[in-house]
Symmetry: C2
Subunit: 145 residues, 2 copies
DNA sequence: ATAAACCCTAAAGTCAACTACAGAGTCAAG
DNA sequence: CTTGACTCTGTAGTTGACTTTAGGGTTTAT
């Protein structure tokens, strides 16, 4: 196993050096072995682990969730029931994401409606966007619901 | 105009007292007039303003954007061209939201695929979720793209 | 008259996920 | 043997939208 310094791992994984040290502090990476002079030494598995973290982040997992996923992966005891937990974490995240999408779609609906209603010309006085945010019931076009 | 203390406004608007003071510091609310002893005094318009803020927040506007919207509403000079700016802010926000939705839908797609692939039974060893996050090319079902 | 309930300020803390110092030691090349 | 690139630790700063704390005045009800 050829040992690499933190800078090499940073380049190979695309993760900044500071972030690698941060992940170690946060328990996403094990404490690295050191040279006599205190430099951290890594092997290829660390690069893979950092790529795992990057992919999981891209899917919306938080660092806390990723830490749990990695712990399951690391723990030999999780070779009995681990998959259920992994699936549970994934499904919770899926649920989160579906809620967020639903929220955003509600916002989108209202905003695109407002953007269409507003001519963009003239003063703010009877701007339908401002009026809606102000909670005015009787807009100039009260036919909507 | 019956003047109310901050506590009444908090109750009437559903905004915590501390948050009202925070909004004043941040320029979303004008500085309130005070009693001789330094208590802030508000009238109904503040309650309306706080409701405006709450609605705008619910639609995903940041406090900075809300401040801009309120400034346009307040500024008599904006009664010439203000509506264009209001519409621009709204459309930028709509754009943001559409991007966020697209991102989340990409995550959702991958995660729901993973959740279906994984039985949830057994150890973490060949869990398809873990394997995908680990970047393994040849899954047991490599037919997907 | 005193206690409960309310208000004030300024400053610090919270969360997430980094990012950026400052100050010092180490290693490879010329 | 010195310069420059690299690494170390520990601490502090960033963003957004608050929340909390400490320490003190004020008002209202009994």
């Amino acid at each position: 196993m050829p040992a690499q310094t933190i800078g090499h791992v940073a380049k190979a994984s695309g993760t900044p050096i500071e972030t690698i040290r941060f992940y170690e502090r946060e328990g996403l990476l094990p404490e690295a072995p050191r040279t006599m002079s205190g430099y951290r030494l890594y092997d290829e598995s660390t690069v893979k682990r950092l790529r795992f973290i990057a992919r999981a982040k891209a899917l919306g997992f938080t660092l806390a969730e990723i830490r749990d996923l990695l712990a399951l992966q690391d723990n030999p005891a999780s070779n009995k029931t681990g998959r259920a937990e992994v699936k549970a974490i994934t499904e919770r995240k899926l649920d989160d994401i579906e809620h967020k999408i639903a929220d955003l779609q509600r916002m989108q609906k209202v905003l695109s409606h407002l953007a269409h209603e507003c001519s963009g010309k003239g003063g703010v006085a009877h701007c339908p966007i401002i009026e809606t945010l102000s909670g005015i019931e009787d807009c100039t076009h009260p036919e909507h619901r």
